[in-house]
Symmetry: C2
Subunit: 324 residues, 2 copies
Amino acid sequence: MVTDTERPYVIGLDLGGTNAVFGIVDRDANIVAQTSVKTQDYSTAESFVDACVKALQPLIEQVGGIERIYGMGAGAPNANYHTGCIEKAPNLVWAKDRKVPLAGMFSERLGIKVNITNDANAAALGEMEYGCAKGMKDFIVITLGTGVGSGIVANGQLVCGHDGLAGELGHVIMVRENGRPCGCGRKGCLEAYCSATGVARTAREMLEKDSRPSLLRDLKPEEIDSYRVFKAAEAGDELAKEIFDFTGNMLGEACADFTVFSSPEAYIFFGGLCKSGDMLMDPIKKSYEENVMPIYKGKAKFLFSTLDGAGAAVLGAAALGWTV
Amino acid sequence: MVTDTERPYVIGLDLGGTNAVFGIVDRDANIVAQTSVKTQDYSTAESFVDACVKALQPLIEQVGGIERIYGMGAGAPNANYHTGCIEKAPNLVWAKDRKVPLAGMFSERLGIKVNITNDANAAALGEMEYGCAKGMKDFIVITLGTGVGSGIVANGQLVCGHDGLAGELGHVIMVRENGRPCGCGRKGCLEAYCSATGVARTAREMLEKDSRPSLLRDLKPEEIDSYRVFKAAEAGDELAKEIFDFTGNMLGEACADFTVFSSPEAYIFFGGLCKSGDMLMDPIKKSYEENVMPIYKGKAKFLFSTLDGAGAAVLGAAALGWTV
């Protein structure tokens, strides 16, 4: 077996709809080199991977060549850990309607082993390897961004399910009657309410049915986003505060349900909406303790990710690279 | 290490509110000897364990003495795998208001290692070792009896959670507004609707608000139980059939939510309500496929436990005995 000393680096790839960000990462979570490629500039997966490998070459040389790299991990939308494929990812032009064997393609071109998983699972591995879940065996990472994603760790292992697609907690049904439409084609999903876009939608709905004054009324409906709602709440806007109470309340109810499943030591929140800090976390905690089954009360920790915002996704992917 | 050949048996204990049933079980799931003790005849855990050890002695002699026994497993209400304790089990007089270190007490008296877990977790281990989950790494057992219990296996391991109390899927909230009161002190839990007692309650409610004729109207309200509802449905009673449709529909919706968590290969149903067969299973499957997120459609198997009814709980506990 090759030791860490001989292969002290991994490649982490955070593959988003806009950018594919690569980092070369050491065991101590230092990103020693970084580059990126525009995800949408390529019409085929082949040309995208070509461009990535080309962009990676100088970085690989910089750390002493590919033989110094242990493996590669990637966090990507609709990525299946078991098959190594991205399966019909609506936000990726070259994988919209097809199955792309991304792990195999990178592995063949680079000559190292490659694991892929969805971005929230990568975030969970990142928290366990480098972040605030160090030493924990049971925890759940919830990503609050454009959507709501999750990475579940039980018994120290990622829960991937028999088909590699487990951990889609953004799609539990929270509102069974007349729920909001969700991108998954169903109605009432957690994601439709508690993602950053869900928060903006809650704001637009509340502004319409409520006549109180609000700083948010100075904005055009399409200008309202979760960050502006936060800034308004921070400035003391009552309506904006209620939007966070509504969002946190539903997240707390959802976590109370997740606890009967895997009783995690901690819930770790990650992603854009976390910038709202206690404005979001206080109602989550309150609602969780009010709603959780008595035997679990007062046990779970509620944390924000401690990984650096910009590098977090790359570090998560890198953590997966160590498991190849 | 002692081999199976030297210690070819385990003791399995199915500890219920009425009877504590012991079986001595071999690797091939044969219950070679069996005995039982009345759970409620003892006011202290000590006197209960005394009686059990006394009842076990002839069985242990029969298989060649305690040195032929590999270990012991017990399935019991509110049993914590991590601590080996039964924690405040409302149905056990000698553990109602206290924590009883049952595993340690048996281990000390018998001189073998003992593991305990809740009855649904034991059932899951039984299915994996002896039943229809042989070879599966991701599945969920749902017990439909007086309550609704669950045993979740992910990556080939029981999901016990950081506190040993995970897997209480009977207590996800299915009705958030005006839900039925549940034994756990909250409202709207799956168990309040889909346990055998929940089915009887659904029957009483539907008979009251619906004026159609029904075979169930020949019974006094307190005589209605899930088995009688099944017999009426089997005889073609429309109202009784609708009770099963309602129950199966909610179980299907619940399973659709469980799938986003751990995407199991199979749901395995176990317990009294399973006697209703396809009358229950058909609406579960229909509702599941209608409600599950598109990426999971058509993948999960829906099965009834294949373990023999009477011995199933003992076999499940025995499976735990092999893991000590």
